[in-house]
Amino acid sequence: MVTGEGAICAAGKHPMEIWEAARAGRSAIVPIQQWDSASWPSRLAGEIVDFNPRALVEDRKLHKLVRRTDLLGLYVAAKAIESAGLVAHRDALDSTGADLFNDRTAVYVGSGGSTYQDQYDFFPLLTTAEGNLKAFGRELTGNVNPMWLLRVLPNNVLCHVGIRYNFKGPNGCIVNHGVSGTLAIAEAAAALRAGEADQAVAVGHDSPIEPENILHYHAIGLLASDTIRPFDARHSGSILGEGAAALVLETEASARARGAKVIGEFLGSGCVTEAEGLLSVRPDGDGLARAIAQALDDAGIHADDVGVIVAHGNGTPSSDASEAAALRRVFGSTSPPVTCFKWTFGHLLAASGIIDAVLALNSLRQGDIPGIATLRDRDPACENLAVSAMAQPPRSDVALVLSRGFAGTDAALLFRAPRHSGNS
């Protein structure tokens, strides 16, 4: 059962705020403001323009201990934990009960991993050393923050969610590009099913908007010059965004016992790879089709049961076309309504799948699926997809969420709307 959620990105700081931006057809992609990008060959991103560490994480000691991406992860984890009422519930237990609750609470994080900027803290030392490694070693102390390593640990969100909330259960930090956050959900659900935990926090966070990284994505031809147009004849690439999302998952027994409000149900997951290289994507959609089949099998449902597909839709022609091919293989020519959200706030990489999961659940609860506002004319290769610039109603209460990443990884998640949800 899903009992808590949190999300942040360029389009908003709460799941409904982001969902409403998408529903209204508003894109939050703007020229980068973190540095003077005027002369840059690619300068658009889904940047959180009013980024304010204090508004995100109360504990000011943490601001210097972690990176921008970690603050985003910690913020959404706090929101999800709060909305699920986990801490309030635990604190009402006696100390034995609270210890058990902590030991039975899992934390799984999908992290963007290390960044280029992490190592820029060594630039002043490199300047001082003037190319001499001996001098580099000698001048180390005093020229670099002694806590440097702890600041840049890829697993910082996992670490600090643990320390802040005292959760001590099974855990993991997945660093696997575009499917990291998706796998955090899949692994959290697996821990619950295996009886290793009663509740689990799943987080995905990333902040890939940094100079060197933008340049690399530009150089390998993955970035669009104006906007993301998924499945459109004029699609020309993706645009990076920063953000994070989190879900609290728990067993049905745990949710019932503590009277938690259920906001959705996790049904199943699938993950496979195409094994053809870091940047390769098979035109036939083989990996994605297999991931969807695995997820349907895991959930014990049929393709016909799916009421809405939240596609990866990153706007690169090869990914879009192969995604359409995969959906054709699984759903034939009559796919349920298909939408995607990256055109709203950019590609959040490690957080992309989990923020889409949050928005899929909100769409199911609203009974209303935002359209793809940048869509004008469908790419002929994507003819089979029931995509629209306008909102559509879901065909059932089941959502399929797709995500893909480097190394040819494809992942699929299935969720169901809560049983007695109203439409508002």
């Binding site: 003077d36 002369s39 840059w40 060959p41 030991d103 991993g113 290390s114 190592q119 820029y120 630039f123 490199l126 190319g131 490694l133 001098a135 580099f136 070693g137 000698r138 180390l140 102390t141 923050n145 002694p146 440097w148 390593l149 702890l150 640990l153 890829p154 697993n155 670490c159 643990g162 320390i163 959760f167 001590k168 099974p170 855990n171 993991g172 930090c173 997945i174 660093v175 696997n176 590009h177 796998l183 692994e187 697996a190 100079p211 340049l215 690399h216 530009h218 150089a219 390998i220 993950c271 496979v272 790879t273 094994a275 870091l278 297999r290 695995q294 895991d298 480097f406 190394a407 990884t409």
Partner: protein
């Protein structure tokens, strides 16, 4: 333990370590008590407060990997990974084929350093002013400043991608980083893939190399490394009263895992059953567990329960044993709580005493060592333990290897950030199916 649960066999082992570039050489050095710690040779560390490390020696990825195109996309640790994985796959005598590729999973613990030092130096040389990035200059250089091959090498899942491609693995693939617990968590993740039925085979391992100017700096700044530059072989001395930090190492370890019955049916040599996995968060400090052992205690208890084993079945513990003051003390306290009086009858050793700390590779290499200990009936020693710390009072395998039939071996891995992992391996003769 549920009766219907799938069991998992370890059928292949491969390592690249500071003690040797394959598992036989590494094992012989462990038994012979030969240290892999020495003055750093891969760069001029003369100015650093710590000038020693456990480096992989004489490694040439071309001996293991014929595909020259793949070599271009490898950083140092990815080369270790491919070579160790190739050894494990050959050792197991089974490879992904067109009919089985989708039933192979892959779980790896990856190091955190994708960008190589030479690349950082190059960006610094071309695009900084007064020690800061000159962002306009970088933007003006545009695509000419971006080497796509270097970009691919720097990705956190670059090593995973190379493994998938090289071996043609097409099932569930994941790359984890919980610092020093990464390798152990990857092995545990792979175990569960087979149990969950989404894979029948898995390649599981960990790899890392932080022996470079930035990596060495990072640990020097924290004061985590032993500064015993003049006595490198003695520098790593887990559980010794005079221990003063860990020794940074590099390398990789890989296991081939298979569903038990299928492995038996094909007549595979089974080193051990991978029987259990336990994880916990310390949620105490970034770098330490609580002195009481809270955190590691739960990881060991979960792992034993997961294996359907009792503490008194354990004959060998490959300790995390980093040789830092707090880790070793906390780990021993945890072992006392979990094992009670049986703690006096376990053979305990930290093989980091000889090979140093492989960071994200450590847990996988040490799981491989546990499998070899079961297979050979020999416990590798905890070197350099001359004056036992009274707070670390466990029956260590001191100085020389110890011959003992091992029913159950466990390996601990605890990471910065508070993740604790324990994996349990069972002697195949003790598996009742």
């Amino acid at each position: 333990m549920s009766g219907g649960r799938r069991r998992v066999a370890i059928t292949g082992i491969g390592v690249v370590t500071p003690l040797g570039n394959d598992s036989a050489t590494t094992w012989d050095a462990l038994l012979g008590g030969r240290s892999g710690v020495a003055p750093i040779t891969s760069f001029d560390a003369g100015g650093f407060p710590v000038r020693i490390a456990a480096e992989v020696k004489g490694f040439d990825p071309r001996t293991a990997i014929e595909d020259r195109k793949l070599l271009k996309f490898m950083n140092r640790s990815n080369g270790f990974a491919l070579a160790a994985a190739e050894e494990a796959i050959r050792d197991a005598g089974i490879r992904p084929e067109s009919g089985t590729a989708a039933r192979w999973g892959c779980a790896v613990g990856t190091g955190m350093m994708g960008v190589e030092f030479a690349e950082l130096v190059e960006i610094h040389r071309r695009f900084t002013e007064n020690g800061h990035l000159a962002v306009e200059r970088l933007g003006a250089a545009g695509a000419t400043a971006a080497d796509p091959v270097a970009f691919c090498r720097s990705q956190a899942n670059a090593g995973l991608s190379l493994l998938l491609r090289h071996f043609g693995i097409r099932g569930y693939a994941t790359s984890v980083n919980t610092a020093c617990a990464s390798g152990g968590q990857a092995v545990g993740t792979a175990l569960k893939l087979i149990r969950r039925g989404i894979a029948d085979f898995a390649l599981a391992g960990g790899f890392d190399s932080m022996v470079n100017p930035v990596g060495l700096s990072a640990f020097c700044l924290l004061g985590a490394l032993s500064p015993d530059n003049d006595t490198p072989e003695r520098a790593s001395r887990p559980f010794d009263r005079t221990r003063n930090g860990f020794v940074l190492a590099e390398g990789a370890g890989f296991l081939v895992l298979e569903e038990w019955n299928a492995a038996r049916r094909r007549g595979a040599r089974v080193y051990a059953e991978l029987a259990g996995d336990g994880n916990s968060l310390s949620s105490y400090r970034i770098t330490d567990s609580h002195p009481s052992g809270d955190g590691p205690i739960q990881a060991m208890c979960h792992a034993l329960a997961d294996a359907g084993a009792r503490p008194e079945d354990v004959d060998y513990l490959n300790a995390h044993g980093t040789s830092t003051l707090m880790n070793d003390r906390s780990e021993c306290a945890a072992v006392r709580v979990v094992f009670g009086t049986h703690a006096d009858r376990i053979g305990v050793s930290s093989t980091k005493s000889l090979m140093g700390h492989l960071v994200s590779g450590a847990g996988a290499v040490e799981a491989a060592i546990c499998a070899l200990a079961i297979h050979r009936g020999i416990l590798p020693p905890n070197a350099n333990l001359r004056e036992l710390d009274p707070d670390c009072n466990l029956p260590f395998v001191r100085e020389y290897p110890f011959t003992r039939r091992v029913k159950l071996a466990i390996s601990n891995s605890f990471g910065f950030g508070g993740s604790n992992n324990c994996v349990v391996l069972r002697n195949p003769e003790n598996v009742r199916t």
